[in-house]
């Protein structure tokens, strides 16, 4: 094996990490202190957008273990009970994998509409689990605003991810 074969292999190997790496970054970006009043209360769920995108386009590069790990990181940083976001992300993965054939390869509005159906399920599951674990019915008002913002921001994040996919992985699906 010479250098000519090692570099493409390395590039491919690193490229395969892009889905998990970008979602990991979005998990952290979603927790940054934003210098806009009250925005941190209704911060969009960037990580959910990234997760949905990669599960639709490259499910082979987003294994269950990685989704679980990303959820655990989000739980740790957000101060949520351990396992909450891990479970929500796993549910999203199962749901999207199940409906993937209706979304992949279709026009963008179908892709966006699919997210507009998945995001409320994730928000509802998060609200229910958080209420259950905190022992009280939490007010869903700000979560609803965050959900709307997430759906509105979806095209912008998806655009970034399309470029990341083209640049580092290629459009070939598994």
């Amino acid at each position: 094996m010479n250098t000519l074969t090692v570099f493409p292999l390395m590039r491919r190997w690193l490229g395969n990490l892009v889905p998990v790496a970008t979602t990991f970054l979005f998990v952290l970006i979603g927790q940054l202190p934003l210098p806009v009043p009250l925005l941190s209360d209704v911060a969009p769920a960037f990580a959910l957008i990234s997760l949905y995108y990669w599960i639709v386009f490259r499910p082979d590069l987003m294994p269950y273990a990685a989704v679980f790990g990303l959820g655990i990181v989000q739980d740790a940083v957000a101060g949520a009970p351990f396992g909450l976001y891990a479970l929500v992300y796993l549910l999203v993965q199962a749901l999207v994998l199940n409906q993937r054939r209706f979304i992949a390869g279709k026009p963008f509005w179908v892709f966006w509409s699919g997210f507009a159906m998945v995001a409320p399920v994730a928000a509802l599951a998060t609200w229910m689990l958080a209420s259950l674990l905190r022992g009280t019915l939490l007010a869903p008002g700000t979560a609803f605003v965050a959900l709307v913002m997430t759906i509105i921001l979806f095209p912008a994040i998806a655009w970034l991810l399309v470029h990341a996919q083209r640049r580092f992985i290629g459009m070939v699906e598994a």
Binding site: A76, F82, A86, T136, L138
Partner: protein
């Protein structure tokens, strides 16, 4: 028949096993998530250590990522300030004139206080120490109200210490990692702060309810309270030192009294951790070496900044 059998490959044969393994993996991780949630609910020490280890690991990345966000915030502030600079200058001059009068008053009270203390042979409280840290994550979120700051047990941060910013209480240290700590905000549903109404001295509890305005509870029935009354910490329970500004009464009806915190959450990019040497009712502090500065004689407040 021969044609069909020729298509059978090793990869093809393993498909059912792979599908089965994937399903098993999914169910396994779902089960693990539930188990972790139950352990987390029981506040197991191992879970907290795991959480802190993860937070300590990712906090340098959070710090780097927060730099451009803060730079953008500062740039926006700069532009905003440019347009209000004249008005702001006039207001500051007026405020400065008022403050000069207050300085005179404070000096007079200081002398009077010292004289009275000398007459009573009063033993003064321990002087507090300060540490300023940067907020690296505002996990405010919708359901969990907390912050991550870039100071931990290495900077002698301990669980239960009060955290303020610009004179107003933010909350208290809830978890301490090596270089990161979590601040439980006073707005979180788990937050309870013993307070007094400054004008009447009536004791009460400020309870977070995940909204921006916590609720004032357990106030005596006959207590006269009205919007605008200042609420400060009472020091009872030994968690918060007495006299820290919490907020003002925003709404006072028969059913609910809400408090508007003094702190402006939108400019919360740094936080000051106070060490009054009160350990309170919280579990024993983390095993950290005793700060050398704490053994020094308490003369002036000790301030440090973590960048």
């Amino acid at each position: 028949m021969a044609k069909r059998s020729a298509k059978v490959t090793v990869a093809g044969l393993t498909v059912p096993f792979r599908v089965w393994a994937q399903r098993f993996a999914f169910l396994g991780f779902v089960g693990l998530s539930f188990a972790l949630m139950l352990l987390s609910k029981a506040e197991t020490a191992g879970i907290e250590r795991m959480r802190l280890a993860i937070v300590d690991t990712v906090s340098p990345i959070l710090f780097v990522l927060s730099q451009p966000v803060q730079a953008v915030g500062q740039a926006v502030d700069g532009v905003e300030n440019f347009f209000v600079v004249c008005d702001q200058n006039r207001q500051l001059r007026e405020e400065n004139a008022r403050l000069v009068q207050w300085v005179q008053e404070a000096r007079r009270l200081g002398v009077e206080n010292a004289t009275l203390r000398a007459q009573l042979e009063y033993v003064p409280d321990k002087r507090s120490q300060f540490l300023t840290a940067r907020v690296v994550a505002d996990t405010g979120g919708t359901f969990f109200h907390s912050l991550l700051i870039n100071a931990g047990s290495r900077q002698f941060i301990r669980r239960g210490q009060a955290v303020i910013w610009q004179g107003g209480l933010i909350g208290r240290i809830a978890e301490v990692g090596q270089r990161t700590s979590r601040v439980l905000l006073m707005t979180d549903i788990n937050s309870r702060i013993p307070v007094v109404v400054e004008s009447t001295g009536d004791r009460a509890i400020v309870r977070g309810d995940n909204s921006t305005r916590p609720v004032l509870q357990f106030l005596p029935d006959n207590s006269p309270i009205s919007p605008g009354d200042r609420i400060v910490t009472s020091g009872h329970g030994g968690v918060y030192p007495p006299g820290l500004a919490v907020g003002v009464v925003a709404e006072a009806s028969d059913t609910v009294i809400t408090v508007q915190p003094f702190v402006d959450w939108s400019i919360l990019n740094q936080a000051v951790i106070l060490d009054y040497g009160v350990d309170g009712i919280l579990p024993a502090p983390e095993q950290v070496p005793i700060s050398p500065s704490r053994s020094q004689p308490d003369t002036e407040p000790n301030t440090r900044v973590v960048q």
